[in-house]
Point group: C2
Chain length 707, copies 2
Amino acid sequence: MLALSIVIAAGALSIIYGIVTVRAVMAADTGTQRMRDIADAIREGAQAYLRRQYTTIALVGIVLFVLLGFVLGWIVAGGFAAGAVLSGAAGFIGMNVSVRANVRTAQAATNSLADGLDIAFRSGAVTGLLVAGLALLGVAVSFAVLVHGIGYAPDSRTVVDALVALGFGASLISIFARLGGGIFTKGADVGGDLVGKVEAGIPEDDPRNPATIADNVGDNVGDCAGMAADLFETYVVSIVATMVLAIVAFAGSPSLGAVLLYPLAIGAACIVSSIAGTFFVRLGVTESIMGALYRGFIATGVLSLAALALVTWLVFGDPTAALTTAGGETFSPLALFGCGVIGLLLTAVIVVITEYYTGTQYRPVQSIAAASRTGHGTNVIQGLAVSLEATALPALAIIAAIIGANALAGLFGIAIAVTAMLALCGFVVALDAFGPVTDNAGGIAEMAGLPARVRTATDALDAVGNTTKAVTKGYAIGSAGLGALVLFAAYTSDLAHFTAHPDLYTYFAGVTVDFSLSNPFVVVGLLFGGLLPFVFGGFGMTAVGRAAGSVVEEVRRQFREKPGIMTGESRPDYGRAVDLLTRAALREMILPSLLPVLSPLVCFGVVLLVAGRSDAFAAVGAMLLGVIVTGLFVAISMTSGGGAWDNAKKFIEEGHFGGKGSEAHKAAVTGDTVGDPYKDTAGPAINPMIKITNIVALLLLAVLAHG
Amino acid sequence: MLALSIVIAAGALSIIYGIVTVRAVMAADTGTQRMRDIADAIREGAQAYLRRQYTTIALVGIVLFVLLGFVLGWIVAGGFAAGAVLSGAAGFIGMNVSVRANVRTAQAATNSLADGLDIAFRSGAVTGLLVAGLALLGVAVSFAVLVHGIGYAPDSRTVVDALVALGFGASLISIFARLGGGIFTKGADVGGDLVGKVEAGIPEDDPRNPATIADNVGDNVGDCAGMAADLFETYVVSIVATMVLAIVAFAGSPSLGAVLLYPLAIGAACIVSSIAGTFFVRLGVTESIMGALYRGFIATGVLSLAALALVTWLVFGDPTAALTTAGGETFSPLALFGCGVIGLLLTAVIVVITEYYTGTQYRPVQSIAAASRTGHGTNVIQGLAVSLEATALPALAIIAAIIGANALAGLFGIAIAVTAMLALCGFVVALDAFGPVTDNAGGIAEMAGLPARVRTATDALDAVGNTTKAVTKGYAIGSAGLGALVLFAAYTSDLAHFTAHPDLYTYFAGVTVDFSLSNPFVVVGLLFGGLLPFVFGGFGMTAVGRAAGSVVEEVRRQFREKPGIMTGESRPDYGRAVDLLTRAALREMILPSLLPVLSPLVCFGVVLLVAGRSDAFAAVGAMLLGVIVTGLFVAISMTSGGGAWDNAKKFIEEGHFGGKGSEAHKAAVTGDTVGDPYKDTAGPAINPMIKITNIVALLLLAVLAHG
């Protein structure tokens, strides 16, 4: 209990860090009245959207809460509620900080680039550390209450089910937030650009564009709240899956307590190292923003490595002791430490690869920019080529990590690698949440007519924000893919546990699951799972296309009915565009969100009818892997490809191949438009989709075992 | 031997059909001297390309022939040579008919639409029936020589290895022909359009465009020779895999002879029904070209159904007799007939689904056309959305077919379903090979300045050709995916056979392969296999982009150096563009072609070093499934999406959303350009890529067993 208290204290520390930092950010100057007015409009729009999004999710959530309560008991339903509420809170608080920091960043940038970076980064760090802290607290406090409070055995089914339900709650928020936010932000961005830049010929963030406030609102609800919910979920679900794996693998072993504590302790240690890392972010004499952020990131990584060693020693004592699983596998704490190191290294490798594929200084982005010279078509062809190619190295890195961690400590080793990878999420989310703040700051500077040098400073911050956003997405998908493998392992372990005790779990009597690839139902499951990311991606793209189309029509209508907008004599009705997108995003997010929730049930039901229980379990298990196999590639190709298109445009805007206004630039704008829903809606939403499929399958097992 | 003689006679019948039909086509009028000149230029270019392509492939082929001869013996190497030579012959003859039929079709269209259709379809039917006939002959004659000639037992390893090597020979030609032809044709098409339509503002097939002959050459080397090699390979490989499966499953059983004969007999019967079907293609009073083609297709399907029943009765006698595998599975000939019916039904279902996603009269294509109104970006976004969504129904149909065939007769049932599906390939390839002929006929009519009504007739034929090309690709990929599953089954059966006899196959002593999804090396294999289609697709797209870029520069150079071209005073140098593309296509096809050949070896080698033989076999097996799982979706999304983009442009050209020349049309041209390499280079080349990976794995087993 002492160790668990320390873990909880580390979670609490992140909240204290958040409160202190928020105070510091809020104390900063908010600039002129015009700036405040614009920021108010953005804030109101974002809050209105999030309120309605959460109301919609709450309706679905309450239905599921009652269902879970009746089927699996109210303790499990409570876990679900806790996961959902904490995930929602992380996104809500983060976004509220973000919409207040934007105007302060713009004002600070009037002083210096360093001041602007300071406010923007610190507000992002609040979101980042709240995500990590609340996620850790959610798992640790739930575990403490169930085991030390109510007195359940750590390996009792109620504990497992409640933890899985906690993950399910987080997943539910995450998929809705990712999709809804993604559709909102890219509907506004694509629609606004099409009608503003292309048709009316006015620059981005021009106050005459009625969609411009909606675009800035979108940055906050998509990149800030959506990303926060996503990584909150990945964190919770991966730690939960690691613990479930530990419970099944070490059931009845004296090491159970230690291996259960280990993932939580890693999370706690890395919160401390992430907080420490934030203090290393300071603009040096070279004025390199990316350099400042990387300094902080590297510091966090190095400190985490040390913390990992310390934690391993504290939790296990003798690093060469033998930990033996119920299956007879044996490995040492040192091997587990090695797996943690693999997780940290994988994070670094994925960051480097993503930067290669999305950075303006490397071949892929430059090849897209060069292809823009021969037109829109060749730009898109080359962009698609890069997006397909960009999947290879991350996949190979993940494969290497799996092989390495497995060699050291089997499946549990892979789980520990994922845990270590995700333990860094406090700092990584900070990098991402920095993006919308600087993007907004640039918009406010533009709309409020601040001097050109301010816009130059915010543009510099914004360009870095694009890179960090791409890097974070690579990290999110890599960890999600690996985390899903752990979830799949939890599914097979759970299933093995149930089928081994048919007396307790009568539904599983006579079930012998053949997960071999030569079982045709495994192939069926793989194919069925494999199609989900494609269909889901297609839905996401269509939704953005439709939302953008309605924005285009609304803006055209405003321009037509109020000719004074273009001359600057009358103000556009910003609220209408925000309202319209809010309705579109909420309407469009429901169906695709239900796809991963219902698919495991449909797969199980159909195969059950055709071939019986054993094959149904095999098909669902294979389906989980099928979703991971195609989902990983589809998601990486979309996020990397989208980032590369975006920066190919920026590369041309820097003056290459004719620069701004050239034919090459027009082609690059098309590529950027295509990349927008790729990288910010469909691609990132595949993460929670993969995991929700897995967690629903785990819940299905729980329900069948209970019934 | 009598039965086998009948099969061989059916193969010979297809060749006789070919000779008779070629004579009839060649007897038709070749029109004016100007038309003949143009046709000669196309023919010379196509022949020059194919000659150089085959020379390049021959170099690789000779190396592999010698390698196979030394390692597995010269009989096996002979099988490889036979597969390669026959595949090359099918493509070569087909293309030679096609480049002679084009001008005759143009001339016949001056008489009537019905005459034009007649020449074009019959020349396509020559290619189609040669593909089916030569493929069947290759397998049947090889089997007859080995078993009845030399006297090997039907289930001896030499027979299996020689048949697999036959498939490998076909695969090798196929991947080179698909990629090389695809890069040539789309490099010419994209490059020619960009510089002609977009920059110079001249219509497609305008004789002033120096790339126009190359574009027409491309249709023949890509859509005709490339597709022929692809389906030849799918046919051979699937029948071989079915026979290998039969040999392993029925080793020592009295039914072995019958089950080995059955797939060959299905092929023979369907050649006869396909020939019969060609006589049903005749333009009715409604003048519906698609109607005429569908009439022939439906006739072929119905006749094949009857033929399938007859063949089942002739091969097995009592339809309710029990066929028992070595593993103890039992099923009746009636069940196998049911599997054949599933294969025929799956073909019909895939044709209908593909038409839905690529036909101008349905929602998907119209949604892309509608999205073109708001610009290039939204056109591409909606096209990508359709391409992703288009994977779902074909995958579900394939899943249903697997479940159905497996329920009737296990893995061998799935193999029979694939065999029946592919047995229709004579007619299906005829539909596809019809496309380049009509496409060329339109080009010749345009360049030779024939009256407008001729161009109207050839345009009508060409539009139908676009649909049949898309439909054929859906069929090719569906059958390839299912065929690859049979190959995978052959891999696992082979492996089980070797590990069961460690005394004979010493390398396999102590090997126990765990194909379960909970083996981390299975996950590693799935991920590694999964990345191949993405990387391969990326290579293909990049290659087309580069080839098109060099065409653009060549055409710009000619326009610049000879200003007389645009005024019609001087003739462009068509040969330079053909030459340039030939070199580009051959250069670009090598590296991606080697990817699937080397990947199984790399995967095996790496896992062997890290974890030993058992896990290496597991990883390679999983890799084969991984390639299928992502390859199926990537290929379907590319070919359907590309077809939809193409027809969205046609839909606008029909006068919707502003018609030709409108802004929507420009956006639709961009989409069409993007779709070109998607649907004609990267997407279709994934078929042979999937199968070559599988067949190399089978050869790897043979080599290890031999050594």
